[in-house]
């Protein structure tokens, strides 16, 4: 359990959540990136366009 950096709501972590994983806040819908595991630190995930190169 840790807190959403946007709305403060509780966010549940999977037992095997990995650094880099994105969690959706079920309260405000924010995309949160797990940047440290122990103790867990969340930050707002960067906005990234969904397309690639060659």
């Amino acid at each position: 359990m840790t807190e959403c950096v946007e709305c403060g709501a509780d966010v549940t972590l999977h037992d095997n959540a990995e650094v880099g994983e994105i969690l959706d806040c079920t309260t405000c819908g924010a995309e949160l990136e797990l940047v440290e595991r122990n103790p867990p630190v969340l930050q707002r995930a960067p906005e990234l366009e969904e397309d690639w190169g060659e």
Binding site: G20, E21, I22, D24, E50, W52, G53, E54
Partner: protein
Amino acid sequence: MTEYTEAELEAAHEQLIDNDLGDDGLRTDGGAVGADDQNAPIVVKIGGARAVNPEDALADVAHLVANGEDVVVVHGGSTAVDDTLERLGEDPEYVETPGGVVGRFTDETTMEVFEMVLPGKLNTDLVAGLQNQGVNAVGLSGADGKLLTGPRKSAVKVVEDGRKKIKRGDHSGKIEAVNDDLLSTLLAGSYVPVVTVPMLAEESSGEGTATEFTPVNADADRAAAAVAGALGGELVVLTDVEGVYEDPEDSDSLIESVGTPAELDAAEDAAEGFMTKKVMAAVEALEGGAASVTVADANNRDPITAARTGHGTTFE
């Protein structure tokens, strides 16, 4: 510098004009498309797909150049990158976005192989192939003269095992600017630019420091679109099918012309798989200033001339 004699050129030209393209009796006499913009450069994207033999396209470039057209060739070569990665004992890595788009993840080793294969082997061989057709080609990557620049995208959002993740270390970028001066300089000197990726990505290290440039991956169709846009040219995208089909299962359902927003919506809905990227590139090219875009079959005889005379799907 050309290897053709005057007589050979004349003969090639006559043959081209007399050549019946087959199923519908259209003649390759430069009709419909291109008559109004004889001087707009023709940007030809040739495929990197294994199925496509570029020889016919290179011969057709020679015809066009002999007829006084300005031509720029753009090429990719993703499958050749994978082949070389495998020869080096590396696994190509493809990732999926939350939206379901599959794309290459370009780590440092892949980027190195990318440089080796695209501006290295493929570009050099294509330039030599064009020289053998009498075309004075000059190879360029997006790094040369800052030809293709834009921001780097080093992080991508992916789905792995059903979970969304941020994956960092991608060597990829988005083309936002084309140095059309370099292309114009070469075209004015009667050279035929042969352009490939990587692009040159700009990154600022943050604290007011200078911009740093890194060669990174970019989609070759979109590179061709950016070049055609910057030059106000006609874009011909050669691929291994005849164009965009309304129903990909039905070879009679080729969409010949896309001119209205409704037709564009229909083409976007109809395009599947790799063809979605071609349609996206067509839209970007037109938005960027290209005169027209035709997606057509590289396996046609004189495939560029065929595309410019009604064979394929033309976006205007």
